[in-house]
Structures are given as C-alpha cells and as structure tokens.
C-alpha cells in the first residue's frame, strides 16, 4: 500500500501563454520508498506533487495511487506544505486532530495517536500554543504530525524545510529520518537542496525545466538508519559530486 505510478503524465496550465509544466513524466514509487524530487525552481516539482495530492488535474497520461486513478485530495496522501499552512486560529492540538475530527473518527481512536505523534515531533509541551507563537521549524513539525495522524499511505512533502535556517533544517532532517524509520510510510519529497535529497532518500529523481522532465534517476544506497552525520561520509560526498556533474550537464 502506498504505491505511486505516473505514466507519461503531462500538465499544461492553460492561459494566454499556456505553460507546459510537465512533459511526459513517468515515475514509479514502491511501497515504503523514500523518493526525492530534485530540480531548480520552476521545473515543475510542485506541479508533479500537486497532481498526486489531487489538487490539480493532469492534462495527459495516467496517474495511479495504489492502483487507482487519482481524482481528488484525500487523507490517504498526507501533504506537508512549504509554509506549513496551519490554521492560525487553532492551537497546535486542534491543528493536529483536525483531519480525524472532520472525518468523524472516534475521539478514543485519534487522541492517543495525536498525543503520541506530538511527542514524536517533540511538541507535547506546546499543545496549546497557537501557530504564530511557534518558530518556523516547530510549525513544520506540527505540519508533519497533522499529516501523519491520519495514517496516510504516502507522505507528500513540498520543500518542507526550504524556508528554515540551516541549523533548524538539519534538526528537521534528522527528525524526519527518525520518524520515517519508525513509520516506514511512502514519501515523495520535493527539494532543491542536493544534500537534503541524498541524505533522506532511497532514490533521487533529477528534474529539468521547460518542459519539466525527469532527466535522471539516481539510487542512493547509503546504509540506514542514517543521520546528519552521514553528510560528511565519503560515499555521501561521492554522490554529491556525481549529482553536481549531472546538474552541469543539464544546465549547459
């Protein structure tokens, strides 16, 4: 459960000057895989993720989640947004339980789970804080807890740490590694940060812009469990050199 299949997917945004954001993209993600989507700004990473999330319709091709065509958003695909997109009028606790609550899940079922997730992301002491009282990193942790509390079969993350300062970003990457290690959910992770992509994923799909295409897929076989200490290992540096070389080829 949690498998993804993009088959020759294209996406054109209509308009006076229509934009072909994705062109003939094929991508397969197996159960429990952690796939990073790496590419420069504007190459169509968000577009691809939004299609899988069900926020947008594809123009061409087929998109299957767990073997069924994606038609609309749903709690089986938890999304973590770049700016967290928490409800500013709800405290941390109510943001986290929003999903199960509106789905009519019994309290006895979601409350222990929400409490456990808040502990997992280190926010059990901030259940009553409003989003605005939190730092960017803490808001993002709420965003992750709120997605995970729904028991999604896939986690879709769109540059979730892109707006954080370097140090917070490192601690969030470690947190995500730990959380993923215990839950093993399928993850599609969008980023423009090469280090982040190598550190987190089993496989990196490198994208190019105009039209948006996946130009190369690089398996990352660094041993797990990983930690941010891996960032300086020789294997890591070798991957990075390889991808940087690839980038140059793409850009010139």
């Amino acid at each position: 459960m949690g498998t993804v299949l993009f088959q020759n997917v294209s996406k054109t945004f209509p308009g006076v000057r229509s934009v072909r954001a994705l062109d003939d993209v094929s991508l397969q993600i197996g159960e429990g895989d952690f796939v990073a989507l790496l590419g420069p700004s504007g190459c169509g990473k968000s577009t691809l993720l939004n299609l899988l999330a069900g926020f947008d319709r594809l123009s061409d091709g087929a998109l299957l989640f767990d073997g069924r065509p994606v038609t609309r958003p749903g709690p089986d695909r938890g999304v973590v947004f770049q700016e967290a997109a928490l409800f500013p009028w709800l405290d941390v606790w109510n943001n986290v339980i929003f999903g199960p609550k509106v789905q009519g899940v019994p309290k006895s079922e979601y409350e222990p789970r929400a409490r456990e997730l808040l502990r997992l992301v280190g926010l059990d002491a901030f259940a009553e804080a409003l989003p605005v009282q939190l730092s960017g990193g803490m808001r993002q942790r709420v965003g992750i807890a709120r997605a995970l509390v729904m028991n999604p079969r896939a986690l879709l993350m769109d540059e979730p740490f892109g707006a954080l300062d370097a140090q917070t970003r490192l601690s969030m990457q470690q947190l995500l590694l730990d959380v993923w290690e215990t839950l093993g959910t399928t993850v599609l992770f969008v980023t423009h940060d090469i280090d982040e992509a190598i550190l987190l994923s089993d496989r990196i799909c490198v994208m190019s812009a105009r039209p948006g295409r996946i130009v190369r897929t690089i398996p990352i076989t660094l041993p797990r469990p990983r930690s941010i200490a891996s960032l300086t290992s020789p294997a890591f540096v070798a991957y990075k050199a390889d991808i940087l070389a690839e980038m140059n080829v793409v850009h010139h």
Binding site: A85, P88, G99, V132, S135, G136, G137
Partner: protein
C-alpha cells in the same frame, strides 16, 4: 554547508532571525522584551490621554454655556447645556403621565424601543448577510446569482426605501426593523464576501487533504479566515442600523428615540432634541464597543499574530 541549486536559499522572513536552536519565537520574547518602567508609565499615560480627549468637549460646553443668555442662544433657538441636562433629567427620571410634559419619565422606555429594533434588524442582517457573503465569496455560482442583485440594490439609499417600507409594513416597528436589516446587510455581505474570497488557498488545500467536505471547509476554514472582515462589516453595519432606526422612527413609528426627536422638535423642545441626540450618540458608541469586545474575544488568535509577526 549544503549546496543549493538556486541562487540563494530562501529564508523565511516570518521566522525568528537565526535562532541558535529551535525555540518558540513568541512566548519568551513577550515576557522579556518589555522595557522596565513601561508598566509604571502606562496609568499616567492613560490619564493624560483621557484629559487630552476631554479638553475639546469641555471647552465647547463651557463656551456654549457662557454664550447663552437666559438659558438659550440664537434668540431662544438653542438651549444651554444646563437646560439640556435638566430636560434629560426630567425625561429620564420625571414622573410619568402627569403634568404637561409628555416625555417625562419615558427615556428608558424609548431607549429600549430603539435598541430592541436595532438588535432585531441587525440580527436579521447578520443571519442573512454572513451566510450570503460567505457563499458569494466562496462559490462562483452563488456569486453570479447574488452579487449583481446586491450591487444594483446597494446604491439605493436607505432613506429612499422609506415610502416602500411604510407601504408594505405600515406605521409600526416592522418597517424600522426592515430598514435596519437592509441597511446593515450591505456592508456585512460585501465585507464577508471579500474576506471569504481572500482565504489563503493553501489552507483550503490543507483542509481538502485532511478529508474535509465542502460544508466543513466553509464552517471550519472559510468562516474563521473571513472573520476579521466579517467584523469590519458588522461595525459599519451597526452604524447604519442606528441611522436607519432614527430615520424610520421619525417618519413611520410612534415610539423610540427617533420619534421623540422629531416630536420634540415639532413642539419646539430643543432641549429634549439635544438630549435625544446625545443619547443616540452614546448608544451608538456603546453598541460599537460591545461588538468590538466580541471581536477581541473571537479574534484573540489574530491579536497574538500582530504582536509577534
């Protein structure tokens, strides 16, 4: 340092400036950030503000009082403040139904008549205006169906509806309530629809992702997000409501502050007219404060935001 593929890694301007660790930005800063002595200075500052605000009315009242001769100005047209005060006192606390003064002791009753009409009309305006505004701001079909009608009717001044209102509701409170509701409806519906239109698209997507249906999204996302605009509409609408009740009572109702206003003018009781005007002003002010207090309570999350952001 990590290599990024963009010219510069974007930094979140809303996040605290480079915290050494991932600490809450608001709670600690709020406690330690206030300069010492600010709490001491605050009461004196408040007293100063009150004094400053009172200066102009006191000067005007004093000049008005001193300019008068034999209790009035302009050849008996405008009574001096002491006469107005005396008239109000009789109006408020005088014995009812005795003597030649028909207003004696009727102040509270008339205040309650007018306030009740405003409350009823304003309540109707909220009950219709907020859902209609949410629908117009949120749904394209609702906007297409309702917005043109609202926009065409809106320029008709509330006073122009008076004959229509009397024809339909006759002489009585029904017409007043109708005019108040109509007058308050427009700013409420316009502001609410604006607020509903401006809801952050990412919040809607987040709710969709969490399995919320259309009605849940309207109630739990669009409505709270639009609430600041709703309150703007409520405060404007309430002001129009007071205008409408006075106009309606002057012409088409036989009770209330508007009725007394016009009746007192007719029999030359300018002291009662002015006491009435001040009463209306006071009620308008107090009811606005009430809405403001509710807004403060309902939008507490937003006050925090403006302090910390």
């Amino acid at each position: 340092m990590s290599v990024t593929m963009e010219p510069a890694a974007p930094t979140d301007t809303r996040a605290p400036a480079a915290p050494a660790y991932d600490a809450p930005s608001g709670t600690a800063g709020a406690a330690s950030g206030r300069p010492r002595g600010a709490t001491l200075r605050r009461p004196t500052r408040l007293a100063g503000r009150v004094l400053l605000g009172l200066a102009l009315p006191v000067i005007v009242l004093a000049a008005w009082q001193l300019a008068g001769r034999g209790g009035s100005l302009f050849g008996g047209v405008l009574p001096t403040p002491d006469r107005v005060w005396a008239a109000w006192w009789t109006w408020a606390f005088g014995a009812q139904g005795l003597g030649l003064n028909p207003y004696s002791g009727t102040w509270l009753a008339n205040v309650l008549y007018s306030a009740e009409r405003v409350a009823k009309g304003f309540g109707c305006a909220i009950l219709i205006g907020v859902p209609a505004g949410i629908a117009i701001g949120w749904n394209r079909i609702a906007a297409g169906a309702l917005d043109p009608t609202v926009q065409i009717l809106r320029p008709i001044p509330i006073t122009a509806w008076l004959p229509f209102s009397i024809a339909v509701f006759g002489i009585g409170p029904g017409g007043a309530i109708f005019l108040i509701a109509l007058g308050a409806f427009y700013p409420i519906v316009v502001n609410t629809s604006q607020g509903a239109r401006d809801v952050d698209r990412m919040l809607i997507r987040a709710a969709l992702m969490m399995g919320a249906g259309p009605f849940t999204i309207l109630r739990r996302v669009v409505l709270p997000a639009a609430l600041p605009s709703v309150f703007t509409g409520l405060r404007i609408g309430l002001g129009i409501g007071w205008t409408a009740v006075i106009v309606a009572e002057m012409v088409a109702v036989k009770s209330g502050l508007g009725y007394v206003l016009w009746d007192a003018y007719y029999v030359g009781r300018m002291d009662v007219v002015i006491a009435d005007m001040i009463t209306i002003g006071l009620l308008g002010f107090l009811s606005d404060r009430l809405v403001l207090a509710i807004e403060h309570w309902a939008l507490a999350w937003r006050r925090l935001q403006s302090h910390h952001a």
